[in-house]
């Protein structure tokens, strides 16, 4: 089936099998490997992308269903300069192996769009569909809060 998906602002057309998962479409068809795969059961959020601005798990959506929609991946965060979330994850040691990081940042972005000064618990709640095996989350929470403060400061 022929689909057109706007990825990070650019329309991408492709002819794909209906069963192709959105995550595989992004990773193999488009060669954008910042979106990761960490599980089989929609549990980990390593595959998180923003679908029309809302975070979803791209391993649990068919690419054909994204036809006509906008998808943002980690590759689209940087806009000339690093996004405040990218800066704050670096500055607050919000990542270790980096495997969960794209998902965490994208969920953070959606959260901060609604609320630039979330509490510790609000951040934890927002990222509770995303697993991290390295950091123990402490610094991910800090990073998202710090990015909120930076965005607010601007």
């Amino acid at each position: 089936m022929k689909v057109t998906v706007t990825i990070n602002g650019t329309a991408q057309s492709a002819d794909i099998e209906s069963r192709k998962l959105l995550v595989d479409f992004i990773r193999t068809e488009l060669g954008m490997t910042g979106t990761h795969i960490g599980c089989d059961t929609t549990s980990c959020g390593a595959c998180t992308v923003l679908l029309d601005g809302t975070p979803i798990k791209s391993c649990t959506m068919f690419a054909v269903s994204a036809d006509g929609h906008e998808v943002q991946t980690v590759e689209g965060l940087k806009n000339g300069e690093l996004h405040p979330l990218q800066v704050s994850f670096k500055e607050n040691h919000g990542l270790q192996c980096g495997f969960c990081t794209p998902g965490m940042m994208l969920v953070g972005k959606a959260l901060l769009e609604k609320n630039t000064s979330p509490t510790d618990d609000e951040v934890r709640w927002a990222i509770s569909g995303n697993l991290c095996r390295c950091t123990g989350y402490t610094n991910i929470v800090k990073s998202i809060q710090a990015a909120g403060a930076a965005i607010e400061g601007n």
Binding site: D40, G45, D67
Partner: protein, 292 residues
């Protein structure tokens, strides 16, 4: 993990969707949020031949306060009912349950109606709907019927839809008096299904007696279980901790949990007992205008 191949249909209108479902009959399956269906396909536990994707039927993405009831369209996502004013005023039980269904990202995609149609006995929504006396609107090319939730939920992953029919709306009746409700769920972590959960609902008459009551249980029987006997014990009575304890004991006795890695049956019964008491107390406090 890769799903098996299928034929994909993406209707642009409800009529088109219904015709396609009619045409495919037994071989057609609705794809709503995909948050149950796609994981099952990836694990090769489901291999539908045709999927009719209803995600373009954006007209069905509503949560409305209609006359007499709260109406949830087939494309309303779980997230749409979290922190929603209509939901909070009309169905406190639903409002209480919404944040505890799955995880935030799954809630952004999965639908309330899809979850109800799925009839997973560990799913949360059917207990809520049984407690509040909801109805399911089923639509096909030959028209609509309104199915009381008790008749809709048949068993373990089985609903009473006919071939060619799909769920288009869920209706939750407005309480007649001052009402309260709660959904108490024991889960091991965010994203976990319930080990056991209890939906409670109380509607109070002006004299403070219970005019309507709902109690339904999750994950402790082969389907979500409405405990009519316990509800009946409450109706017409003045609520009290003793009365709640009696109802809770009935609920605990009514369920039939399995012993598994989440605990032995008697543990799950004890949780049902405790949560029914707590849930009714919360519902009461809310109905009486106190803190929930």
């Amino acid at each position: 993990m890769y799903p098996p191949a299928f034929e994909y249909w993406s209707p642009k209108s409800l009529d088109e969707a219904l015709s396609k479902l009619q045409e495919l009959g037994h071989d057609g399956r609705v794809l709503a949020g995909g948050q149950s269906l796609i994981p099952m396909m990836k694990l090769r536990l489901a291999a539908p031949a045709n999927l009719v994707d209803i995600n373009n039927l954006t007209d069905l993405a509503y949560v409305r306060a209609d006359n007499g009831h709260l109406a949830i369209g087939a494309l309303a996502r779980h997230a749409d009912v979290v922190d929603n004013d209509h939901v909070k005023t009309i169905s406190p039980t639903m409002a209480s349950a919404a944040p505890w269904v799955a995880d935030p990202l799954v809630r952004n995609r999965g639908t309330v109606a899809g979850s109800i149609a799925h009839c997973d006995p560990e799913g949360d929504w059917n207990s809520v709907m049984l407690a509040v006396g909801a109805s399911v609107v089923a639509t096909s090319t030959s028209g609509q019927r309104v199915i009381p939730i008790g008749d809709f939920v048949v068993d373990f992953f089985t609903n009473s839809l006919a071939e060619g029919e799909m769920v288009t709306e869920i209706q939750i009746p407005r309480p007649t008096g001052s009402a309260g409700g709660a959904y108490l769920k024991l889960e091991r972590k965010i994203g976990d299904y319930a080990t056991a959960a209890v939906a409670t609902f109380l509607d109070l008459a002006t004299d403070g007696t219970v005019s309507n009551a709902g109690i339904a249980l999750t994950a402790v029987a082969s389907k979500n279980l409405k405990v009519t006997e316990a509800e009946q014990m409450l109706i017409g009575q003045t609520p009290s901790p003793e009365l709640f304890a009696e109802a809770a004991a009935v609920a605990a006795a009514a369920c039939d949990p399995e012993s598994d890695v989440r605990g032995p049956a008697e543990y799950k019964r004890a949780v049902i007992n405790a949560y029914t008491k707590r849930g009714l107390a919360k519902a009461l406090a809310q109905a009486q205008g106190g803190a929930s």
